[in-house]
Amino acid sequence: MSTAPLTDKRPSTLRGASLPKWSPWAIAAGSVALAVGIGLAAALDSKVQWGLIAALLFVFGTYGIAARVEGRRQAKDRVATSLVWVCFIVAVVPLASLIWETVKRGVKAFDLYFLSHSMGVVADNEPGGGIYHALLGTLEQVGIATLISVPIGVLTAIYLVEYGRGKLARAVTFFVDVMTGVPSIVAGLFILSFWILILDMGYSGFAGALALSILMMPVVVRSTEEMLKLVPNELREASLALGVPKWRTIIKVVLPTSIGGITTGVMLAVARITGETAPVLLLVWGTNFINNNPFSGPQASLPLYIYRQYSAGTEVAYDRAWAAALALIAFVMILNLAARGIARWKAPKTGR
């Protein structure tokens, strides 16, 4: 480090000494090696501690080396960059290990039979059985919740962005904010007391869907609102100036321009409620049998299935729980990919 060239030896004021392109990698490798050394020497048995030490070494090492060679401004710049990288890795490591773990344990029981059979005649400690009834329940409940909350959510967002002024709009915004913070168990209890206890309707997939739509609606409103705000005002004015009424302007110009983003938002909201367990536990009750009808009788759902299999506590049930978790992750992943596809397909076109 001490042999690094000094800036003031350079004749040009525009060019300073700079670290080679590979230096971040070298510093990263060095700090990992050093951290392993420290970890072994101090006999730290938690790998998390090793990682933290490596991250700290990386950030401070970057600053120290860059400050000596390149100067303080570049050093700060590099520290910011390395912090971003550290945060990225901190965020990705749990995610990657979660997926890795789920896939590793899930594949054991995951096959076509598993996807196409229910638990109807299978005891907890017997092998076999599947998630067909749970998959069906999840699809129906999430589908109904989406059908309820997307129109309401999108219309609310349109009201807020295009028409909303004054007290009513502020009140709606406030309640949407409050709804965003409602814990899922509270949404479940609300529907439980209202739908099942007061109206005496009985457990059903539909009751679960109602609670899920309470959770989904604010997310849809928020994301749609943001997307509508991104539509430039000039487009609205161009349309209005052509003598197009406001409602047609919204339907034909504003919505098509933002449809990609709105779809993405809806898909993310769907992904969020797909994994909800609490309201389903309270309202759908769960069953081991196939129930096609979401409007009457208990249904199953994937999160609930995972919960039940896991609490059953036998080896085969554990395998089933992991396989169902894998199915759930795959389901959400497919939704996300579909959302990206739609967003790209519907994005305003550029180019010749």
Binding site: R165, P232, E234, L235, R236, E237, A238, S239, L240, A241, L242, G243, V244, P245, R248, T249, K252, V253, P256, T257, P348, K349, T350, G351, R352
Partner: protein, 258 residues
């Protein structure tokens, strides 16, 4: 088809802020009227009051009268949508609809209004694009997105879109300010052709442009920053540029302003 506009005692507000005050003028049919004046004096605001686009801005409010061939645009029961169908507008920045093809952009006015015959649509689009001097450049790629055109082409596309609904008056807010000299010339030529059919009002910061394209010129000014803009004078373009009756106009035109 072209109609005369009579403005009397027009004052426009943004919320509590009075942007323009007590403007009266007549815009002759089948002619080009240019608005000139320093930035912030309310030219755009005034232009937008002429087709009721001003009230689209939150807090936008208008007092006074705008007569279109004896009918008050701000009279009770007047539908702003109908007003905008009669008085079209071209904006400073080209703003084609990004989700639509070139064809759909031009057809947008008719389609979105729902009042068209399918068989006519092709003719209208072709006629409008020819009217906007764009037909030859885009006739082979009508189904490509409008945002893939150059800035000048986009602006002419917007002009084609505006004239496709056959308005009687065309308002243009600095239509050439984002364009190169050649596109500017193309649009100026176009304005010369369009005035055979439409009444045209154009805002411009370019004195030569005003002198080249307009028959009459209106000079706006504001007495101080924060004060509302006013109409100083309106006269034949030749007189305004050779022998204006107000000293402030001469100062502005000859660059001795401020």
């Amino acid at each position: 088809m072209a109609k005369r506009i009579d403005v009397s005692g027009l004052t426009a507000y943004y919320g509590a802020h009075r942007a323009i005050e007590d403007i009266s003028m007549t815009v002759e049919p089948r002619s080009v009227t240019a608005f000139i004046g320093p930035s912030g004096c309310g030219k755009s605001t005034f232009l937008r009051t002429l087709n009721r686009m001003h009230e689209v801005t939150p807090g936008g409010r208008v007092e006074g009268k705008v007569l279109l061939d004896d009918e008050d645009l701000y009279g009770t029961g007047v539908d702003p949508v109908a007003v905008r169908r009669t008085i079209g507008m071209v904006f400073q920045r080209p703003n084609p609809f990004p989700t639509m093809s070139i064809f759909d952009n031009v057809a947008a006015g008719l389609r979105l209004n729902g009042s068209y015959k399918k068989s006519e649509l092709n003719d209208v689009v072709e006629k409008s694009l020819k009217g906007a001097n764009l037909w030859n450049e885009v006739k082979d790629r009508l189904n490509k997105p409008g945002s893939g055109l150059s800035g000048g082409q986009q602006q002419r596309l917007c002009i084609a879109r505006a004239i496709a609904v056959e308005p009687q008056v065309l308002l243009m807010d600095e239509p050439c300010s984002a364009l190169d000299p050649i596109s500017t010339l193309a649009i100026e030529d176009l304005i010369g052709e369009l005035k055979e059919r439409f009444t045209i009002v154009i805002v411009t910061h370019n004195m030569q442009q005003a002198a080249r394209v307009s028959d009459r010129t209106a000079f706006f000014n504001l007495s101080a920053v924060g004060q509302p803009g006013r109409l100083i004078e309106i006269d034949d373009t030749e007189r305004i540029f050779s022998n204006p009756s107000v000293q402030a106009t001469e100062d502005y035109i000859s660059g001795r302003f401020g």
